[in-house]
C-alpha cells in the first residue's frame, strides 16, 4: 500500500510539473486517425493529411490552387512525355539518411504497386534518374495532370524500407490487412516524426530536429492526434479546452463555436459534390431527357442548402466547383417547379410514376435528410419515390449492384481536377477501362467520353479548361444527374492557434507551418 501511495504521489508531481516551459504542444482531434503509417496503404483524405505531416511531396498546392516547390525546387518540361524535376539538396530523412533521386524512383515504383494508388499513377511510365539531384518523370502519353499527381509523390526513405523485418517479410511490402514494417515504422522528410502510435487511440508527432525547411514559421514541437468520432464530443472537447484544434466541425455546431469567445471557426467551400443518379437502364422514363430535366427543375437545391445544411454548403449546378478547370460560371441552379411540371406534361407523364431510391445515412453530411427532402420534392411532380437508407458499410455494395432506380453519391476528386468527376460518375460504364465505375445512372454520351479522354493528354491548360467546361455544359443540358451542393470544409481551434494560413481547399492542413502563440 505504501508503495502505491508513493507511485501515486510521484505521478501527481510528474503530471503537474511535467510540461517543459516554452515547448508548444498542439492537441488535435479529428474524426479518424491514419489507418497506417504506410502512406501507400490507402488513398484517403486522412492518409494524405498524415503524409503531409510525416513526409514531404515533391511539390504541393498553395491556398490559391497553385503549385509550390517542396522536395523539388523547380521543374521544366523536356518533351511531351517528360518533366524534369530538380531536387532539393541537403534534405534528411528521419532515419538520418540523405534524400536523393533514387528515393523518388523507388517511391514511384512502390506507388505503382499500391492497390489504391496504382490507378492514379497508371499514366506514368516511371522515373529516370539523371543524377543524384535530378529526375525525369516520364508518362506513357502526354499527361495534363502530371504536376497534380506529383503532389502525391511523397518520397520515402528507400534505404530504410529495404530489407526484411523480423518476420522475414520485405520491409517495403504494402499490406492492407495484417502487420507490416511500414505499418508501424516511418521515415520521411516531413516536419514531424511519429514517436508513439496506438491505433484508434492516439498518435504523437514530434517536430523533426533536422527538418530541411528552416523558412517555415511552424513552432509546434509536439502534436498529439486523438480521433474523436462522435461529433458532439469532438466539439465539447474544443469548447472545454481539452483540445486545441478539431476537424471536421459538424454544421449544427458552427453557431455555437462562432459564439464562443475562446475559439475560432474557419469554413471553406469544398470540392465534394453531392448528387443523385437516375438509372436509365432500370427505368425507361429516365431515358427521356425531358423527365431528367423535370427532376432537376423540381429539385430545390438552394432550399436544401438553406434549410438542411444551414448555409454550410454551396448549391451546385455542375460537378466541379469554382477554381477547378471545368467550372463554368454561367451554369446556375435552376429550381422552377412550373417548368418541371410542363416538362413532365410534354413527356406524357403528368400522372407521374413510382420508383425506388437508396441513400447512405452516415457517409455525407446530412445525407439521409437530403434524400428525404428530394423525395418530398419529387412528390410535387407526381413521382413517388420509395427511399431506403442504410449505413455506408452496406451501401456501396448495393450501389454497385444498382438495386434502386435513383442512387445518391458524393464525389471528391483524388486528382483535385474536373476530369476525375466525369471519369468516375458520367463516362460510359466500361469494365475493361474502369471508366464510369460509379455511374449508376448509366448515362452514356460519346461526346463526353471523347472530351474527357482528350483532356487527359491536352497539356495546353487553356484549351483543356474549355474542353472540360463543354463537358459540364453538356451534362447540364442533358440533366445527366441531379446536383445538390458542394459540402463545406471546416476547422475550428482555440484563438491562439493560427489556423487560417495552414488550411486549404484540399483539406490537407500544413501542420508543419502551424504557429501557436
Amino acid at each position: 500500500m505504501k508503495k502505491l501511495v508513493t507511485v501515486f504521489l510521484v505521478l501527481v508531481v510528474a503530471l503537474t510539473f511535467g510540461t517543459v516551459a516554452g515547448a508548444k504542444t498542439l492537441k488535435l482531434a479529428m474524426d479518424a486517425d491514419p489507418v497506417s503509417l504506410d502512406p501507400h496503404v490507402q488513398l484517403s483524405g486522412g492518409m494524405l493529411q498524415y503524409s503531409h505531416m510525416a513526409f514531404d511531396p515533391l511539390l504541393r498546392w498553395t491556398k490559391d490552387m497553385k503549385f509550390e516547390p517542396r522536395l523539388a525546387t523547380k521543374w521544366e518540361r523536356i518533351d511531351d512525355n517528360t518533366m524534369r524535376f530538380y531536387l532539393r539538396k541537403g534534405v534528411k530523412f528521419h532515419s538520418g539518411n540523405i534524400f536523393t533521386a533514387k528515393d523518388v524512383k523507388w517511391t514511384m515504383e512502390r506507388l505503382k504497386e499500391s492497390q489504391d494508388f496504382k490507378g492514379l499513377f497508371e499514366p506514368f511510365e516511371g522515373v529516370k534518374i539523371i543524377d543524384d539531384y535530378t529526375v525525369d518523370i516520364v508518362t506513357k502519353k502526354p499527361y495534363s495532370l502530371l504536376l497534380n499527381m506529383a503532389t502525391y509523390i511523397f518520397p520515402m526513405d528507400s534505404d530504410f524500407y529495404t530489407g526484411t523485418d523480423e518476420s522475414g517479410q520485405p520491409k517495403d511490402a504494402i499490406v492492407k490487412i495484417g502487420p507490416s514494417f511500414a505499418l508501424t515504422h516511418e521515415s520521411g522528410t516531413g516536419p514531424y516524426r511519429v514517436t508513439y502510435r496506438e491505433q484508434g487511440v492516439k498518435t504523437v508527432f514530434e517536430r523533426f530536429a533536422d527538418y530541411w525547411d528552416k523558412g517555415s514559421p511552424g513552432n509546434v514541437d509536439t502534436i498529439t492526434l486523438t480521433p474523436i468520432k462522435n461529433d458532439a464530443t469532438r466539439v465539447a472537447a474544443l469548447l472545454s479546452g481539452d483540445v486545441d484544434f478539431i476537424m471536421p466541425v459538424p454544421p449544427q455546431d458552427y453557431e455555437r463555436i462562432g459564439k464562443d469567445k475562446n475559439s475560432q471557426l474557419i469554413t471553406m467551400s469544398g470540392s465534394r459534390v453531392i448528387t443523385v443518379q437516375l438509372n436509365q437502364n432500370r427505368r425507361p422514363e429516365f431515358k427521356d431527357k425531358r423527365v431528367r430535366q423535370a427532376i432537376v427543375y423540381a429539385t430545390n437545391n438552394v432550399g436544401i442548402v438553406d434549410k438542411i445544411m444551414k448555409g454550410t454548403a454551396t448549391a451546385a449546378a455542375q460537378q466541379a466547383p469554382e477554381g477547378f478547370a471545368g467550372y463554368d460560371p454561367s451554369l446556375k441552379p435552376r429550381f422552377d417547379l412550373k417548368k418541371a411540371k410542363e416538362l413532365m406534361k410534354e413527356a406524357g407523364l403528368e400522372k407521374g410514376f413510382e420508383c425506388t431510391m437508396i441513400s447512405p445515412n452516415n457517409r455525407y453530411v446530412n445525407d439521409e435528410k437530403i434524400a428525404e427532402a428530394f423525395v418530398a420534392m419529387m412528390a410535387k411532380i407526381n413521382i413517388k419515390v420509395n427511399l431506403k437508407t442504410m449505413p455506408k458499410a452496406q451501401y456501396w455494395d448495393q450501389f454497385d449492384a444498382q438495386v434502386a432506380d435513383i442512387q445518391l453519391i458524393g464525389w471528391h476528386p483524388d486528382t483535385e481536377d474536373s476530369a476525375n468527376y466525369s471519369e468516375f460518375l458520367v463516362m460510359c460504364p466500361n469494365k475493361e477501362t474502369g471508366y464510369g465505375q460509379y455511374n449508376s445512372g448509366n448515362y452514356c454520351n460519346p461526346r463526353v467520353d471523347e472530351l474527357v479522354l482528350a483532356s487527359q493528354t491536352e497539356t495546353d491548360l487553356k484549351k483543356r479548361s474549355e474542353m472540360l467546361r463543354e463537358v459540364e455544359r453538356i451534362l447540364y443540358d442533358d440533366a445527366a444527374y441531379v446536383p445538390f451542393h458542394w459540402q463545406n470544409l471546416s476547422w475550428a481551434g482555440k484563438n491562439n492557434v493560427r489556423l487560417e494560413p495552414i488550411v486549404n481547399v484540399m483539406n490537407f492542413p500544413y501542420f508543419g507551418d502551424l504557429v501557436v502563440e
Partner: protein, 324 residues
C-alpha cells in the same frame, strides 16, 4: 452439487456454440470489410482480388467450418482495421471497459443501498418521495443524452472535468489502468456517472420494494415485539434478507451494464470494448465483431453460471428444483 455444476457448465458450452453460429451468420449481413480497407476509386478487379485473398468469396459453410477450427485453436481471426489478432485487440480494450463498469458498480452500490433502505423505512418522507419521483425520470432518460448533458454542464460550461478519453493511464503487467492517477480518475468520473444512471433508479426501487416486503414479515414483527433495537432489526435482520434477490438481479444486470457501455463509451470516446464494437460495426470489421460477440457472450455465460452456482451453494432448494 457436483452434478449440478456439470449440468450448468454443459449448458454454458451449448450457449456459446449458438452464439458463435449467430454471430457468424450476422457477419455476412453487416457489410463489406473490403470497402473500408480500400479507397473509393480502386478498381473492381482489385477489390475482388482482395476478397479472394481474405477468403470472403468462399461458401458460408466452408467459412464457418474454417472459423470454428480456428476458434478451437484459440484463434479468433484477424481484425481488418487493427491488423492484429482480434483477441489481442479485445483484451487490450477490456481494462477500460471493466474499470468503467467497476466504477459504475461502486456508484450504484454506495448510492442505491442507503437511499433504498431509507425510502423503505420512511416511505412517506419528502426525501423518499423525491427520490422515487426522480428515479422514474432517471429510468426514462436515455444514457447518451445523460452523457451529453453531463459533458455540457461539467466540461463545456463549468470546465471542471475532461470531456473525452481516459487521460493518463499506467500500465501494470499489460493492464492499462486509469485508476492510479488523478487525471485518470477525473476522466473516469463522468462516464461512470452516466453509465450508473441507467441502473441506479432500478436498484433503488428494487431495494426499497424488497425491504418493505421484508419489514412486513412475521419474524420482523416478532423482533419488534421482542423489543430489539431498530438498528438491529433494520440492518441485521431485514437488510440481510433483502440482499439475496438484489444479488441475483445484480448479476444479471451486470451483463446489461456491459451492453450499455457501448453507448457511454461512444459518447465519451472511451477506448473500451463497447466503443471498439460500434466502430467495428461502422467499418464492417466483421472478424472483430464476431470475436466481440463471442467474448462478451462468454463473459455473460460465465457470470451467470457463477451466480447460479453460488446460489446453489447458498440455497440448496434451487438444486432440487433444477432436477425436475
Amino acid at each position: 452439487m457436483f452434478a449440478f455444476i456439470v449440468r450448468r457448465v454443459t449448458q454454458a458450452v451449448v450457449v456459446m456454440l449458438v452464439i458463435s453460429l449467430i454471430g457468424f451468420a450476422v457477419k455476412h449481413q453487416i457489410g463489406d470489410p473490403v470497402r473500408d480497407i480500400v479507397g473509393i476509386s480502386v478498381s473492381v478487379a482489385e477489390r475482388e482480388a482482395l476478397r479472394d485473398k481474405l477468403g470472403l468469396n468462399d461458401p458460408f459453410l466452408v467459412q464457418y467450418v474454417r472459423f470454428v477450427k480456428n476458434v478451437l485453436r484459440g484463434d479468433l481471426g484477424h481484425s481488418f482495421f487493427f491488423k492484429k489478432p482480434t483477441l489481442e485487440v479485445i483484451l487490450a480494450k477490456a481494462p477500460a471497459t471493466l474499470e468503467l463498469v467497476f466504477a459504475s458498480s461502486l456508484i450504484i452500490i454506495f448510492i442505491s443501498i442507503p437511499i433504498g433502505i431509507y425510502a423503505a423505512i420512511r416511505p412517506r418522507n419528502w426525501f423518499s418521495r423525491l427520490t422515487m419521483g426522480m428515479s422514474i425520470v432517471g429510468v426514462s432518460i436515455p444514457v447518451f443524452l445523460t452523457a451529453i448533458l453531463l459533458i455540457y454542464i461539467f466540461s463545456v460550461e463549468l470546465q471542471w472535468l475532461p470531456s473525452y478519453g481516459r487521460g493518463e493511464t499506467v500500465n501494470i503487467h499489460g493492464w492499462d489502468s486509469g485508476l492510479l492517477t488523478l487525471n485518470g480518475l477525473k476522466h473516469l468520473l463522468l462516464p461512470s456517472i452516466a453509465l450508473s444512471s441507467i441502473m441506479l433508479p432500478l436498484f433503488i426501487r428494487l431495494i426499497r420494494a424488497e425491504m418493505m416486503e421484508v419489514l412486513e414479515t412475521e419474524y420482523i414483527k416478532y423482533g419488534w415485539a421482542k423489543g430489539l433495537s431498530k438498528w438491529r432489526i433494520w440492518f441485521l435482520h431485514a437488510f440481510k434478507n433483502t440482499l439475496l434477490p438484489v444479488i441475483t438481479v445484480g448479476g444479471v444486470q451486470l451483463g446489461i451494464l456491459i451492453a450499455y457501455t457501448i453507448l457511454t463509451e461512444t459518447v465519451f470516446q472511451w477506448q473500451g470494448m463497447g466503443f471498439m464494437f460500434l466502430e467495428a460495426v461502422e467499418r464492417s470489421d466483421t472478424s472483430l465483431l464476431v470475436a466481440y460477440m463471442i467474448a462478451v457472450g462468454a463473459l455473460f455465460v460465465v457470470v451467470n453460471t457463477i451466480v447460479d452456482i453460488i446460489y446453489g451453494l447458498v440455497n440448496p432448494t434451487v438444486r432440487i428444483t433444477g432436477k425436475k
